[in-house]
Every structure is written in C-alpha cells, then in structure tokens.
C-alpha cells in the first residue's frame, strides 16, 4: 500500500481545461474521496493517476516513485470503472484472473488467489458464468475482485456504485468500506454522491471545475463548508441560504427585514473582526430548523410551500417572502401546504458567508 501525492496536476482536452492545478494527497491505507459534480474533473484525475491520460503538467507520485511517464501497466494501480468494464468474452473466473495471467504466476497460484478473492466478495458461485449473465451488483463485485486479486499499491474507483440500484448501492457502500478496512488498501474514490462521500471517506476532497475547493474530514466538510458551493452540494438537501445584513455588535438582520436575531458571541466576534461589508448570507442546515404550529418567544412565522415525505423523515419547504427554507424533520408532525407555521433554528449551527465571495466567514 502506498501514499499518493498529486501536485499541480493540469490536463486539457483541446480548449477544455478538465483539471487545473489540482493537488491532493491520499494517505496510505485510507479512503480519500474525490467529490464533485459531473464534469468537475474527477474521472480525468483518476485517469491521469492510472496513466490512461498523460497530464499536461504536474507530478503524480505513488509511494516514492514519480509515475508521470510510466505506462499504466507499470504503475501497479487498479482501476474500477463506473460501467464495470468486464471482458464480455471471458468467464467471471477469467476476468478476475486476467491481471494474474499476464504476470507469470503459476496456474495453481492463480486458481488459489481467484478463489480466495471470490470467496471474500461472495461471488464464488458465479465463477463459471459470463458477465452478461450476472446482475449489476455482481458485476461490480467481479470488477472489484479483479482489482483486488493482485494487491496493487493503489485502488482508483471511478463512481463504482453510480450504475447500481439504490438498495445495492447502499449495501456495497458498507461492503467496500469493510473491504478497505480489512485489506488496509489505499483508495482514491471518485463520486458525485455526497452521501457516499460522507459515509465512506476518511478524507474528502471537494472539487469543482478542475480545482480543489476544500479538503477535510466528512465532519469538517459537512459542518464547516468552506464556501456556499460546498455547503449547498453536501447535505440532502443542501444548506439553506438567505441574504442578511450584519448590524454591528452581534445582530443579524435576515431577509433583510424578515427577522433579526442575536448571533452567539463566538460568531459575532468573528464577524466583527473579519467582515468588511455588512452584506452576508445566513446559512442553516435543514435539520437545524424546528417547526411548530404555535408561535412564541423566538419563533418566526412562515408559510408552508410544499411537503416532501421521504419515509421516516420529511422535507418541508417554507416560503419566506422571496426565499425558500427547506426543513428536514421527523415525519409525524403534519403540516399542510399553504399553512402558516412557525420555525426556530439552532443558533449555534448558523453559518455566515460573505455575499460577494461566497466564502464562509463563520
């Protein structure tokens, strides 16, 4: 297992800059998640690491080796593709065995290792079948087995769960995490799914338009997003934003003109110190808002717009003049569209962003 270090990676395709000055580090034996929307440059980054694309500039180091000019076969990495990419003409056994076949390994040893890894991934019974005769979830297991069978220095997984059904996707998430834990492998894992990133990543690298936006633990990314983009992209639904004015001292006028409240002292002092302009964005996560039919001290009125039931939880969209607040709560408390309700929020969870730069201030 090895550490991966990417420094200043840039890759253009014609006029399109897919990755621009990207740097990141994947610690040995951990899962580093590359999180970003489609077209952010996740796949290109992985392909550069694998050697399927040649970077325009920057260095890629696996372990102590700079691999920029090495062909893919000499990099000792494994790649799991979004569409599984199993060889259609070969059986599952041969698919898993193929990385070993090219490496002068004895037949018995190949047989032993393929069976071992197949057992580990619960696909023993599929070995004689062809890829078209197994399900999507099984295909991805086979693809992972093919990666695992030769103990590479580094695993590159490009949206491995995107093409799976929702239920299998969640099972595989746990499975992959278990597998990584037990093998102590180094994973670089690309996904557009924030829930996947939060649940699997030891560290998350949020990228956008080929740039790294933020690097951190899932906790940091979720609770201390660096800017509006991360706050909105991570979370389901993302953070709520309402324009607000910081009125000296510690008061925040949300709307502005909708309601004013006293910021916790910690937040207020950061604002006093760093704010150059009073125009900010008030941000609050949907689960940090509470709803009630009855008003009272510290409750603010709003109108229910839409209710989206999601099983145990529900998302209630509130209308605040021109703005929308999404509230995530337990199902049960029943509201109706159009109803007038009251809400309050956890003040310590309020995040404040600069309205111009969209960077988080607190």
């Amino acid at each position: 297992m090895a550490r991966l270090v990417i420094e200043n990676l840039t890759k253009r395709f014609g006029r399109v800059v897919a990755v621009s000055g990207l740097s990141l580090e994947a610690q040995s034996g951990t899962i580093t998640v590359l999180l970003g929307p489609t077209g952010a440059g996740k796949t290109t980054t992985l392909r550069c690491v694998a050697g399927l694309e040649h970077p325009d500039s920057g260095t890629i180091r696996i372990g102590e080796r700079v691999v920029n000019d090495l062909p893919p076969k000499d990099r000792d990495v494994a790649f799991v593709f979004q569409n599984f990419s199993l060889y259609p003409r070969y059986t599952v056994f041969e698919n898993i065995a193929s990385p070993l076949r090219i490496r002068n390994i004895s037949r018995d040893e190949i047989e032993r290792r393929v069976r071992e890894v197949a057992h580990f991934l619960h696909i023993d019974h599929l070995l004689e079948r062809r890829p078209i005769h197994i399900s999507g979830g099984e295909m991805q297991r086979v693809a992972i087995a093919r990666a695992l069978v030769r103990n590479p220095q580094l695993f590159l997984l490009d949206e491995p769960l995107t093409n799976l059904d929702a239920k299998i996707r969640e099972e595989m998430r746990t499975e992959l995490k278990r597998l990584q834990g037990e093998t102590g492998a180094t994973f670089l894992y690309a996904t557009p799914d924030q829930a996947e990133a939060l649940s699997m990543g030891d560290r998350i690298v949020v990228i956008r338009q080929g740039h790294v936006v933020q690097v951190g633990t899932p906790h940091e990314i979720y609770h201390y997003p660096r800017n509006v983009f991360v706050a909105d992209f991570v979370g389901s639904p993302g953070m709520n934003f309402v324009p607000a004015l910081f009125e000296g001292e510690g008061k925040l006028n949300v709307g502005p003109g909708y309601f004013t409240f006293e910021l916790p002292e910690e937040a207020a002092s950061v604002c006093r110190r760093t704010l150059k302009r009073p125009e900010v964005l008030f941000g609050i996560r949907p689960e940090d808002i509470l709803l009630s039919i009855q008003g009272g001290e510290g409750w603010y009125p709003a109108q229910v717009d839409v209710i989206e039931p999601l099983g145990v939880i529900q998302i209630v969209r509130l209308r605040l003049n021109g703005h929308v607040l999404r509230v995530r709560g337990e199902e049960g408390a029943s509201f109706e569209a159009g109803e007038r309700v009251f809400f309050r929020f956890k003040k310590e969870k309020v995040r404040i962003f600069d309205r111009l730069t969209e960077e988080r201030i607190f």
Partner: protein
C-alpha cells in the same frame, strides 16, 4: 375483428408481400440456373419449359474448348477436349479476391482501431483522403493506371490485381472498421492496460475478438465487391491474370451469344459468394445491426 385478428391478418399480408418479393429477387437466379442446365433447344423454347432434363454440356463447354456440348467423332475426326481458360480465370478470381479481401480487412481493422482510439495528427483530413479514393469512377484513373502497371511490370499479374483491389477495398474497410471500433467500449482495453497488459497485448486479447463481427461484415462486402469487379480486371489484365467476370462477358462477342455458357459461367461465379455469405451470414446481420443498440 378484434385487435389480435387484425394483427394476424397484417402479419399474413406482410408474409405474402415478402414471398412475392423473394420470388422477384430469386427469379434471375432461377433463370440462370435453368438456362445453364438446359439444352440449347430447351433454353430457347417458347413458352419456357418448366420441366426439362438437366444436362451438363454447358458446364463442360466452359471448362473445355471444342466440346460444344457434343462428344464423339465427326467425319472421322475425334473431338478432343482441351481445357479452356475458364478454370484458370476462376482460380484467378478466387486467389485475387480472397487475398485482397484478407489484406484489406486486416489492414482496415488495424487502421480502424488507430483512427478510433489514438490521437492522430490530421485525423479527419486523413480519413477524408482515404475516402476520396472511392469518389472517382474507376475509368477516370484507368489510363494512367494502365501505363503505370505496364511500366512497373504489374500488368496482367495476379499480384497487380491484388494490390489494386486491396487499395480499392481499404477505404471502405478503414471507415467501416473505425465505426465498429468506436462502438467497442474503450474501457475494455483500458482495464487491461491498468491490469498490466501492454497496448498490443490488450488489443489482441480483448479488442480484436470484439472486432470479429465487424471484420466479417467488412470481409463479405469486400469479397463481393472484388469478386464482381469488372473494369480493372478488364483493363489491367490480358491472358494470364484475367478474372472470371470479364471473361464471361468476353464470350458474348466471339461466336454468337452462347447463353448456355454464359449462364453456366455466371452460376459458378455466384456460387462461392452465396456459400461464403451463408456461412458467415449470421455475423453479417449482426454486423448491420451493430451499433444500432446501445447498452
């Protein structure tokens, strides 16, 4: 009439139409076969004879000079059978078309792969130039070709014809193979590359087998085109390397039109292509629908 009956009726109508069409298409083949196996008298009888005693004189006639259908002695002179040029010409046809088809398909597959997968400088222009070789009618380049072939010593050689037909089919093969390769997911070979295979190993082990369907379709088209080719064979060959097609036409002019011989020759010409196409037909149809279905 309910929906099911209506659909059944519709199917039946379609079948009838198809049968009629099939008859129209097969009729010339039938006519050719019947003329080839009829005696001269039967062949020309009106109304046409639907039942006749098949005989092989026409086939004998095209393979042997002086047979004329009858054997024996005429005025005390024994009619000797001398082999005609037709056998050699058929052989020429077979050698020339199969070799050039193999060459064109193989080279087309390799360059189709490169055009599909690699970054080639001026790729679009190159592809256009390749295609443009098919844009001129052959007669336009005939005279310079004949002169070149004469001065290079390629005139009236099988080798010369093979070169000609390979080049002729290559344009088609490159374009066709490129679109076939385009439809093979890149990830197959990329997975192989990462798994430790070199580009060549990955190509031969994982991509080439996927290209088989496309290669067979390309080969069938090339073969039919070469087998039927008339102009170049007529212009670039004389006695030795001439293929069968122009020589059948040649028998039109000499001693009146011997329709029986023409029919027999044509029948023998059609046969290999039909057999070849039937053997590989499944691939051909898959070849036609390839790319029409996306995963």
């Amino acid at each position: 009439m309910n929906e099911f009956q209506r659909r059944a009726l519709k199917n039946r109508v379609i079948v009838v139409i198809l049968v009629v069409l099939l008859c129209v298409y097969l009729f010339p083949l039938y006519w050719m076969f019947s003329t080839a196996t009829k005696s001269k008298v039967d062949a020309f009888s009106l109304p046409p004879k639907w039942v006749w005693r098949p005989q092989g004189d026409n086939f004998r006639g095209i393979f042997y000079v002086g047979a004329g259908g009858a054997l024996g002695t005429v005025r005390g002179i024994e009619l000797k059978l001398k082999p005609s040029a037709f056998l050699r010409q058929l052989g020429n046809s077979i050698v020339v078309s199969f070799v050039s088809t193999l060459l064109a398909t193989f080279l087309g597959a390799l360059s189709g792969y490169v055009f599909s997968r690699m970054r080639v400088r001026g790729k679009d222009d190159l592809l256009f130039v390749i295609l443009s070789s098919r844009m001129l009618p052959p007669v336009v380049i005939a005279i310079p070709l004949v002169m070149m072939y004469r001065s290079l010593g390629l005139f009236d050689t099988r080798f010369g014809l093979i070169i000609m037909y390979t080049v002729f089919n290559l344009a088609f093969a490159v374009w066709m193979m490129r679109s076939f390769v385009d439809d093979i997911p890149r990830e197959y070979e990329e997975a192989a590359l990462v798994d430790g295979y070199s580009r060549f190993q990955a190509f031969f082990k994982f991509v080439f087998p996927e290209m088989r369907v496309g290669m067979v379709a390309t080969a069938i088209f090339s073969l039919i085109m070469t087998w039927n080719e008339f102009t170049f064979s007529l212009l670039l060959t004389g006695e030795r390397a001439r293929t069968a097609v122009p020589s059948i036409a040649h028998s039109l002019g000499t001693a009146g039109v011997n329709w029986g011989h023409i029919a027999a020759g044509s029948f023998l010409m059609v046969l290999p292509v039909v057999v070849f196409t039937f053997l590989l037909g499944g691939n051909l149809i898959r070849g036609f629908t390839f790319g029409a279905i996306k995963e």
